[in-house]
C-alpha cells in the first residue's frame, strides 16, 4: 500500500514545479474558513473547521466517507444550505469578506465560487454549446463573441477537438468523461475565482480520470481549486496542499508532499497507510 503511494508522490514532485516556484510563503490566502460548523437537521456534520485556501493553488480534501469533506466544500459557495434542513455557522472569508455575513447574497457568491459535482450533470435540454454558455445566458452576462468563448472554454478543458463538429448535439449525448469536462467548461466560462470540485472523477474510468487530473494541473495555475477526493493517490498527484478530515473535524493540513510523507498526526498516518477508511 505504501509503495505506490511513494511513487505517486515522487511523480508529483517531479512534474509539478509550479507550486514550488510560487512557494507557500509567497502565496496569498484566497478563502479562509474559521470555526465552520454545518448541520443536517440536528446532526452536526462539520464540528468547527478552520482551514485556509491558498490562492491559485490546488487544495485537496481527503478523508473517509462521512467525514464532512463534501459538506465542507459545499459550505464554501453556500450550496450546503440548498439541501432542505441543512444550515451552516461560522465565517468563510473570500478576499477578506465573510460570505456568511449579513446581507451577503449566496447567488453572487456562487458566481465567484464555481462548482463541479460528483456525477456529471450537463443540462439535458441544452446543446453542448448552450451548456458552455448556460451560466452567461441564465445570468444575462453580456458576451461579445459567443463562438469564441465556447471555443476558448472548450479548449481549456481539452474537449474542443472532440466536440467541435457536434456542438448542436445534446450535452447528454457525450460519454461520462466528456460530460464531466463539459461541466468543468460550464463552470469555467463564468471565470470563477475559485473552483470547487466534489469528487469529480469518482464516476469516471481511469482514462477519463487522468484527463481530468491533467486539466486540474492546467487550470490550477490560474484558478484556485479545492478538490474533494476519495482517492489518496489522486490527492497526491494533483494538489499543492492537502487537508485530512475525520468525523467532521480537520485533523491535519499541510503541503501535500509533507502530509503524505511525514504526517504529524497518527490518525492521518493510519489513514494514508490504509489502516482504516
Amino acid at each position: 500500500m505504501s509503495l505506490p503511494m511513494r511513487e505517486s508522490v515522487r511523480v508529483k514532485r517531479d512534474t509539478n514545479k509550479t507550486s514550488a516556484e510560487k512557494g507557500p510563503e509567497a502565496a496569498s490566502i484566497k478563502m479562509n474558513a474559521e470555526g465552520l460548523k454545518a448541520w443536517f437537521g440536528s446532526s452536526l456534520a462539520l464540528k468547527g473547521v478552520s482551514l485556509p485556501i491558498v490562492d491559485k493553488q490546488v487544495t485537496a480534501i481527503i478523508g473517509p466517507s462521512g467525514c464532512g469533506k463534501s459538506t465542507f466544500v459545499r459550505c464554501l459557495n453556500r450550496m450546503h444550505e440548498v439541501v432542505p434542513g441543512a444550515r451552516a455557522e461560522g465565517t468563510v472569508m473570500l478576499d477578506g469578506a465573510d460570505i456568511y455575513g449579513p446581507g451577503t447574497d449566496p447567488v453572487l457568491v456562487r458566481r465567484r465560487v464555481g462548482m463541479v459535482f460528483q456525477k456529471p450533470n450537463p443540462f439535458p435540454t441544452m446543446s453542448i454549446r448552450d451548456n458552455v454558455l448556460a451560466g452567461m445566458k441564465l445570468n444575462r452576462v453580456a458576451v461579445t463573441d459567443r463562438d469564441a468563448l465556447v471555443e476558448q472554454t472548450l479548449r481549456q478543458v481539452a474537449l474542443w477537438d472532440e466536440v467541435k463538429d457536434v456542438l448542436a448535439r445534446s450535452g447528454t449525448s457525450l460519454s461520462g468523461g466528456q460530460q464531466q469536462r463539459l461541466c468543468i467548461a460550464r463552470a469555467l466560462a463564468l471565470e470563477p475565482e475559485v473552483l470547487l470540485m466534489d469528487e469529480p472523477c469518482s464516476a469516471l474510468d481511469p482514462i477519463a480520470t487522468a484527463r481530468i487530473e491533467e486539466l486540474i494541473h492546467e487550470i490550477g495555475k490560474r484558478v484556485t481549486i479545492v478538490i474533494v477526493t476519495h482517492n489518496m493517490q489522486q490527492a497526491a498527484r494533483v494538489s499543492d496542499h492537502t487537508a485530512f478530515f475525520y468525523m467532521g473535524e480537520l485533523v491535519e493540513y499541510a503541503p501535500t508532499d509533507q502530509l503524505f510523507t511525514q504526517p504529524s498526526n497518527s490518525r492521518t498516518e493510519d489513514y494514508i497507510t490504509g489502516r482504516f477508511g
Binding site: M79, V82, V109, R110, F117, F123, P124, A187
Partner: protein, 288 residues
C-alpha cells in the same frame, strides 16, 4: 447424490412446465378479453359514425328540425372548444403552478401534504358532484347557464390531474440539475423556470393533454352548467351546446336522423381524444 442433483438442475420438471404453459395461456386470454370491448367500441363508433359524417355536420347547427335531414353539430363543436378552452385557461396555469409549489417549494410541509391529499381526493370525486357544485356556485348566482360555468366545472375536474402530474414530472428531474444551475449563480426562481420546468416540460405537456382528453368527453357536469344551445354562440355568458351533451340528447331521441348525428358526433369526439393521446405519446417519445 451429486449426479442426481446435477440432473435435476438441468431438466425442467414436467409439473413446472405445465404450470408455465397454463399461466401464460391465462395471461394471453385475459389480455384478449380486455381488448375486446376496446376494439368493439372503436369499431361500433367508426362504423356507425363514418356514414353520418358530412360537410353539413360541421357547418350546420342542431336547430334543424329532426324530421329534415342535413342538421349538424357546429354549435356543439364550437361550444366544446370554448368550454374546454376556458377550462385550459383556468386549470393549466393554476395546476402547473400548484405542482411547482408542491415539488419545489412546499415539499414536505404540512400545508403541501394537505394540498397533495386534497388533490388526490378531488380526482376521485364524481364529475356530477363537481357539476352540482358549479351549478350552485355560478349558475344559481348568475341565474342563467353559461359557457363560463361549463369551463369552470371542467377546470375543477382538470385541476388535480394537472397538479399531480406536474409535481410527479418535476420530481423526476434529478436534484443534480437543480444544484448545477444554482452553482452557476442562477437565482432559485430562474433555475426552476429555465432548468427544472424546461426539463420536465414534455412530461407535463403529456399530463396536460391527457387531462384535456378526459374533460373533453365529460357530460354530466355540463348538463346543468353549459346546458345546451341549438345555435352557435360564442358568448361566455350564454349557454352553449357541447359535443358530449348533444350526443347524449341525440342518442336518446326517437328520430333516426338524430341518432345518426349522435354517432357522427361520437366519432368526432373519439377521434379528437385519440389524437390528443397520440400527440401526448409522440411528445414523450421525442424526449427519449
Amino acid at each position: 447424490m451429486s449426479i442426481a442433483l446435477a440432473k435435476q438442475a438441468t431438466s425442467i420438471e414436467p409439473r413446472r412446465r405445465i404450470t408455465d404453459v397454463v399461466m401464460r395461456g391465462l395471461c394471453v386470454a385475459a389480455t384478449v378479453i380486455a381488448l375486446i370491448p376496446l376494439v368493439a367500441v372503436l369499431y361500433y363508433v367508426a362504423s356507425k359514425g363514418v356514414g353520418a359524417i358530412s360537410w353539413e355536420f360541421f357547418t350546420h347547427d342542431s336547430s334543424t328540425p329532426p324530421s329534415e335531414p342535413g342538421g349538424g353539430m357546429s354549435n356543439a363543436i364550437v361550444g366544446s372548444l370554448m368550454v374546454v378552452g376556458l377550462a385550459c385557461a383556468m386549470g393549466i396555469p393554476v395546476g402547473v403552478l400548484t405542482g411547482v409549489y408542491l415539488s419545489e417549494l412546499g415539499r414536505d410541509s404540512m400545508f403541501a401534504r394537505t394540498v397533495r391529499f386534497t388533490a388526490d381526493a378531488m380526482s376521485g370525486i364524481p364529475s356530477i358532484v363537481i357539476g352540482v357544485f358549479t351549478y350552485t356556485l355560478i349558475v344559481l348566482h348568475q341565474r342563467h347557464f353559461s359557457a363560463l360555468a361549463g369551463g369552470v366545472a371542467l377546470a375543477i375536474i382538470m385541476l388535480p390531474t394537472v397538479t399531480r402530474t406536474t409535481e410527479e414530472m418535476l420530481k423526476l428531474v434529478p436534484d443534480s440539475l437543480r444544484e448545477a444551475a444554482l452553482a452557476l449563480g442562477v437565482p432559485r426562481w430562474k433555475a426552476i423556470v429555465t432548468i427544472v420546468l424546461r426539463t420536465a416540460a414534455p412530461g407535463i405537456a403529456t399530463g396536460v393533454m391527457l387531462a384535456i382528453a378526459r374533460v373533453a368527453g365529460e357530460t354530466a357536469p355540463l348538463i346543468f352548467t353549459a346546458f345546451g344551445n341549438p345555435h352557435v354562440s360564442t358568448s361566455l355568458n350564454q349557454p352553449v351546446g357541447t359535443m358530449p351533451v348533444l350526443i347524449f340528447e341525440d342518442a336518446k331521441s326517437p328520430y333516426d336522423e338524430l341518432n345518426r348525428q349522435a354517432a357522427a358526433g361520437a366519432l368526432v369526439l373519439v377521434a379528437f381524444i385519440l389524437l390528443l393521446n397520440i400527440t401526448a405519446r409522440l411528445v414523450v417519445r421525442r424526449k427519449k
